[in-house]
Amino acid sequence: MLELRDVSFCYHRPVLSGISLEVKAGEIVALLGPNGAGKSTLLAIACGSLKPQMGEVRFADRPLADFSRREIARTIALVVQAGDVRFPLTALEYVLAGRFAHASAFGFDSRHDVEIAMKSLTDMDALQFATIRFNELSSGERQRIVLARAMAQEPRMLLLDEPTANADLAHQISLLGFVKGLTRERNMGVLFVTHEINLAAEFADRVALIKDGRLIAGGQPEEIMTADLLSQLFELPLLIDKHPVSGKPRISWLSGK
């Protein structure tokens, strides 16, 4: 569904070189790599915020460059860490912003828009925050509101930049579990960047490893997440065994010394 073809991007120095990657409908792809590998840049290119100098991005076999801003926002939702908002916006207003591309540029939010916003908040276990100011929420709570906003866009493709970074353990699991359910239910594609390699092993259908702007491997977690490849990726000795219940790869780090 979303396809990067031989994408390269330079910003003073080369950030991405010759990346080809496809995310199919109903599939969750995790992007793993050390800091500065180019993961966030890749997401920015995948949602049309940055234009690659070489190569192209296609969605449903149409170049992303042909999409209008509003079309992209109805198709692809990007979730990044929420910054501070300097105005006393409520969480519900924040989520309603996700309806922008679906509504007319003028007028009130329709009942339909409000209901979708509420539904997204409910799905994120965050309806109780609806009338609370966004700035009064903790960073983990904000992250759920940001994800609710992305869901309110009703996208066909979800790009997540460390969606679980500020969430507590229970919400990390429930959040990714929810995303997975939605992926199946709406046949939505998901590309997510994470440093939680065990979560990636558990929830991703495919994993892509990126280092110094190049894809070094891609495939199912069972094939890709080997001690060799991951230790090389993170330059850290890692031990891999099987999760006793799910049977997915389980990564443990060995002592640094």
Binding site: A73, F87, P88, T90, F106, R111
Partner: protein, 354 residues
């Protein structure tokens, strides 16, 4: 399940606090209009010659219906030739400045932004002075020059502001731009001859007493066009207020919105300053009070700021011409008296968030 029920059931809070509803608009806008009408009636009544309310209402009724009423010729002149045009000017200037403030705040994501504080009013003043000194023969040269000055100052403020995302940083830039422009103005006034000079110094502090009918018409046109244009961008501005990157990924053509809003805000400031001088802080105080009372949604903040700004400058101007009568104070002195403390309060509070 209905959205309202869902929310009430789960939060026990009224939905009115959650997002912009029809009922919120239907409370805020009519109350402000009523307050503005009462304010203008009050402003028509008081001054060196007090005129009773019933006589004013009678006179307006008579004007509208074409009947005659027992007004003395003096009263007629005071109401329709002296006070009414000045009231109209004060309201249009106030509406323009307050909206321009609301627009700058949303666009720069900075609750401290105000055309005066940012130096945009200063740019407009410099433009006006250049037009008075060198191009006074041209039609509408003053508003055009003022607009050019405001737009230039805005551009400089923007270029500085986008380098660092800190509200206080932008305000410092505004202070520096204002001081720089002030010294240019001082140099220019030193070059000007005496008659022109007298006009300039009073008017720099915000002075509605010498407003012309032409200037008034320009501000009224600018304020109504500005309201219309900003209203079409208000939904996009709601998203820009969260962050430009967020707005972009949610479907806003951020570059286009930025240009439209910058030009409109500069036009509003330029027209207001050309007609009424650099009246400060209306653009800061009014949107802030509106947000406190009615929430942050720009679809309501922009029109409510227009009416609220009209009311604030009207009252400030009425105070300016009556407090020390027969002497007159500059209107800008009154608005700064209210605005400066509000600014300090907001500055302290913004530090907590930044």
């Amino acid at each position: 399940m209905k959205a309202e029920q869902l929310l009430k059931q789960n939060t026990g809070r009224p939905i009115a606090g959650g997002y912009l509803t029809h009922s919120r608009v239907l409370v805020v806008i009519p109350s402000l209009i009523i307050a503005l009408l009462l304010g203008s009636l009050f402003a028509l009544a008081i001054g060196s010659e007090h005129i009773a309310f019933d006589r004013i209402l009678g006179a307006i009724w008579a004007k509208l219906t074409g009947m005659t009423i027992g007004l003395t010729p003096e009263e007629e002149v005071i109401i329709f030739s002296l006070r009414l045009p000045r009231i109209a000017l004060a309201m249009a200037v106030g509406a323009a400045l307050a909206m321009s403030g609301a627009a700058f705040q949303a666009l720069l994501r900075n609750p401290l932004a105000d055309p005066y504080v940012l130096g945009v009013s200063g740019g407009a003043a410099l433009g006006s002075i250049l037009s008075i000194m060198f191009a006074s023969g041209l039609v509408f040269s003053r508003p055009i020059f003022a607009f050019a000055g405001a737009a230039t100052a805005t551009l400089v403020v923007y270029l500085i502001g986008k380098r660092k995302d800190d509200p206080a940083h932008l305000i410092l830039a505004g202070v520096v731009i204002s001081t720089f422009i002030s010294s240019l103005i001082v140099i220019l006034t030193a070059l000007a001859d005496n008659v022109k000079l007298r006009n300039i110094t009073l008017w720099l502090l915000g002075d509605l007493s010498s407003g012309s009918i032409d200037g008034m018409i320009v501000v009224i046109i600018a304020a109504s066009t500005g309201t219309a244009v900003l209203m079409t961008q208000s939904r996009a501005l709601n998203l820009m207020m969260i962050g430009e990157r967020d707005a972009f990924s949610l479907g806003v053509e951020t570059a286009r919105v930025r240009w439209i809003v910058y030009l409109t805000a500069s036009l509003l400031t330029g027209a207001a300053v050309a007609a009424g001088g650099a009246i400060g802080y209306a653009g800061l105080v009014v949107p802030h009070l509106v947000r406190l009372a009615a929430g942050t949604d720009n679809r309501l903040v922009i029109p409510a700021s227009a009416i609220g700004g009209a009311l604030l400058v009207l009252l400030a101007d009425t105070a300016a011409r009556t407090l020390l009568a027969p002497r007159e104070l500059p209107t800008g002195a009154i608005t700064a008296l209210i605005g400066a403390p509000v600014f300090i309060y907001l500055l302290i509070r913004s530090r907590k968030y930044a």
